[in-house]
Symmetry: C2
Subunit: 83 residues, 2 copies
């Protein structure tokens, strides 16, 4: 399993309701690809959404986001973590 | 208190030791500004580092990173979160 951070742009002024709805569309189908989307954050001034997830591959992540209606190609594999 | 994600670029091939050392330089002085750097991640292929933190302001965060020797202007305030 790998950890990922993916980024979506163009959400200036986005709301918690919009983010919750989008996140729930991922959660509803994530098991099809063995993914889990842990958290999603929005900076409504920059219009950026960041999703923290883990799963088998970048491609699995991208397929879930695509099917959920919010594809992105900006996906980082966080192979090194410190706490 | 606000939550932040900040980004550093140019670390292709970076190691866990380098990330740990940089993170510890933040931790050592973070209380001076009331910040806490919770986690840092590196994607060594993209060369990007992401730091998740919370504290009083973007400026406080930037002062700690500046003093720790790794300034960045790419700071996102994650004012909306869903789990």
């Amino acid at each position: 399993m790998a950890r990922f951070l993916d980024v979506h742009t163009g959400f200036v002024g986005g709301t918690v309701q919009q983010l919750q709805a989008a996140h729930e569309r991922d959660i509803a189908i994530e098991k099809d690809e063995g993914m889990h989307f842990e958290r999603a954050w929005l900076d409504p001034e920059a219009g950026k959404i960041f999703c923290l997830s883990y799963g088998p591959s970048r491609e699995a992540l991208m397929r879930i986001h695509e099917r959920a209606g919010h594809p992105t190609a900006e996906v980082y594999e966080l192979s090194i973590e410190v706490i």
